[in-house]
């Protein structure tokens, strides 16, 4: 019973029907047995009473005439009933008048009990009956008969045997019938389970269960098939959508590659003539081919500056496209922060001096090293310092290197006394092509955007604080080695 829920439905149904039938049969047979036992007892008592009555009637004259021999003859007629073990007749005064003992021949003498009022009593294996003898309403004596219960016991044994046989036969017939009838229930369920299993195993949603009737199982099969149809159609739609997406993806990738290729090619193609322009403009300005007048020199300087600007714009675009397409390869080398900062700042000193700005460098004594790409780090620092110099017309630019001990980080900061940044530009500052106030300042608008992307790629951050009209402070934070 405990494991019934894990057994197959076929077994379950068989078990249920067999147990039901078994219980019903057991109850019915038990009830019949009890009924029969009770009735048989009653019949036995009635039968013995009748016999006692007959014996009594036939012995009344013997009692009246005091002829015990005649009574004994009457009692002897009981020999025809082998069940009767013994009998006795008592006279009016309760004295034993005549005795019969079936076992007398075997020497087992039968001792009649003292007379009792009319009635019957069941002993261990015997039934005793007392019956008074009356003539004309006058009690003239009594009869006692003792009967064996062997017959009843035999009958009960027979009855039990028949019950067992009937139960076995009924169980066999019930099992056969149940097996036949179960096919109608178990068959469709097994079929459904098989189809469900096949669907789950093969992911073949075109399979369908076969319906055999309009009962609940039929409805279940319908529902299952409907669900399969739904899954099949959704699966189809999904497959189609995925195929579309994959195609689109491939197209996009191809387009991207083409775009990058185009960008790289274009940058190269653009840089080649620019280099020629810059180179020859420089040559002309150095007056190597010959003397030029002041106007020519001024105009050539504009050409050279414009060409430089165009070149840096192209370089920035190239870098950006590399980063966007994930093609940038950053090295991981151990770099001395002091060294790199000093180099970068010194390379900018001429520009600062040109604008009469005080360029101050503050370095800590403790050597600070980071693992980063040297070129990228220099590009970030250059960008920050260039910006500071560019947007500061008078005053100073201070570059400071500082260790953030608790965070185990290093901070590169550039502080200027320039024009500052209006709060409304704060959110746009690091976006591409968002140079503020680009009318009179040189710049591509890509610098800070590139710097932030590079810093992020190296695990760092860039941010700033500014007060319009008073100056700004930009800083780069990188993890220390």
């Amino acid at each position: 019973m405990r494991r019934l829920r894990d057994t197959p439905i076929k077994r379950k149904l068989t078990t249920i029907s067999m147990m039901t039938i078994g219980a019903a049969l057991l109850l019915a047979c038990g009830a019949l047995l009890v009924f029969d036992y009770t009735e048989f007892k009653e019949i036995l008592v009635d039968d013995l009473r009748t016999t006692a009555q007959v014996i009594g009637d036939n012995s009344s004259s013997a009692l009246a005439f005091n002829y015990p021999d005649s009574a004994t003859l009457t009692l002897r007629s009981l020999a025809a009933k082998p069940r009767i073990l013994g009998a006795a007749i008592y006279d009016r005064g309760g004295k034993v008048f005549s005795v019969y003992s079936a076992g007398a021949a075997d020497g087992a003498a039968f001792a009649p009990p003292p007379v009792e009022p009319d009635g019957s009593r069941f002993g261990a294996n015997s039934l005793d009956v007392f019956q008074s003898i009356t003539v004309d309403g006058e009690t003239v004596g009594a009869v006692f008969i003792r009967s064996s219960l062997d017959a009843m016991r035999e009958r009960m044994v027979q009855y039990s045997l028949i019950s067992v046989i009937v139960m076995l036969l009924a169980s066999a017939v019930a099992a056969a019938l149940a097996t036949r009838l179960q096919r109608d229930i178990v068959g469709p369920i097994s079929h459904l389970a098989g189809v469900a299993g096949a669907v789950a195993r093969d992911k073949d949603y075109s399979l369908r269960a076969t319906k055999r009737g309009m009962d609940e199982l039929g409805l279940l099969v319908d529902g299952f098939n409907d669900m399969l149809s739904e899954i099949q159609s959704r699966d189809g739609a999904l497959q189609e959508a995925r195929a579309n997406l994959e195609t689109r993806n491939l197209e996009l990738e191809r387009a991207m590659r083409a775009q990058n290729m185009f960008l790289a090619n274009m940058s190269h193609e653009l840089r080649t003539p620019l280099n020629a322009i810059i180179g020859f403009t420089g040559t002309l300005l150095m007056k190597l081919p010959g003397a030029i007048n002041a106007l020519q020199e001024e105009q050539l300087t504009v050409v050279k500056t414009s060409a430089r600007h165009l070149l840096s714009l192209i370089n920035d675009l190239l870098d950006l496209s590399k980063i966007e397409s994930g093609k940038v390869d950053l090295a991981a080398e151990s770099i001395s922060c002091q060294e790199l900062t000093e180099d970068t700042v010194e390379s900018l000193r001429p520009i600062a001096e040109l604008k009469h700005l005080a360029l101050t460098l503050r370095l800590p004594e403790k050597q600070l090293r980071v693992t980063a790409d040297r070129r990228a780090l220099r590009q970030i620092l250059l960008n920050l310092c260039n910006n500071a110099i560019k947007f500061t017309d008078s005053g100073s630019v201070t570059v400071e290197l500082r260790e953030l001990i608790q965070e185990h980080q290093v901070e590169f900061s550039v502080t200027d006394t320039g024009i500052g940044i209006q709060p409304e530009y704060r959110g746009k500052l690091f976006q591409a092509f968002s140079q503020m106030d680009s009318t009179d300042r040189e710049g591509t608008g890509l610098g800070l955007h590139l710097s932030r992307r590079l810093a992020e790629l190296m695990g760092g951050t860039i941010d700033f604080a500014s007060e319009p009209g008073k100056g700004s402070r930009f800083w780069l934070i990188l993890p220390l080695e």
Binding site: S61, A62, Y67, S70
Partner: protein, 189 residues
């Protein structure tokens, strides 16, 4: 007798004394024996009435008693009266009629003649005014009319025979229970 033959006085005296002592004893014993026989026979008569069925016409009314006539010594009549007193058979009482002469038999249902020669029988039977009368006799002489039921002494036990032929002719029904107890039953051929 041997004692008297010796003619010795002391012996004679002793014998006389013995006789004196013996005679009353014998008489008492005899009296007792007769009384017991009367008792048994009286009880039997009563029991016969139980197992014999008279035709309805034998009784003037439904509750009329069964009348037993006894042509016997008065003592027997007394014993019989004693026995049937307050007894009832099939709702009927039992009356005892002591017959001084056969002629008195008149209207009885059962008649018993103690001992007596066959001549008395004839007179009694003749005196009976109805047919369905159970006749009970003490002995049956060959060739004599005799009774339907005749007492027989078997040792010290009282038994009886039944002549079903006579009873049947008289229109009486004798129960099997009674026939069973008889030492012999004469049946119709």
């Amino acid at each position: 007798m041997a004692l008297l033959a010796r003619r010795s006085l002391p012996g004679l005296i002793l014998s006389l004394a013995a006789l004196l002592l013996l005679v009353p004893n014998q008489a008492v014993a005899q009296e007792e024996a007769v009384s017991k026989e009367y008792q048994i026979k009286a009880a039997f008569l009563y029991n016969f009435a139980k197992y014999v069925e008279w035709p309805a016409r034998s009784f003037p009314t439904t509750g009329a008693p069964i009348v037993i006539g006894a042509y016997c010594a008065d003592e027997f009549g007394e014993v019989l009266k004693q026995i049937v007193r307050n007894r009832k058979i099939g709702g009927r009482g039992i009356a005892v009629k002591i017959l001084a002469s056969p002629a008195e038999a008149g209207s009885v249902h059962m008649v018993y003649v103690c001992g007596g020669p066959a001549a008395i029988w004839g007179a009694v039977v003749e005196a009976l005014q109805r047919d369905a009368v159970l006749t009970v006799a003490d002995l049956e002489e060959p060739g004599a009319p005799g009774g339907m039921i005749v007492f027989v002494l078997d040792g010290d036990k009282v038994r009886f025979t039944i002549n079903m032929r006579k009873a049947g002719r008289a229109g009486l029904k004798v129960s099997d229970q009674l026939q069973k107890l008889a030492i012999s039953v004469t049946r119709a051929p």
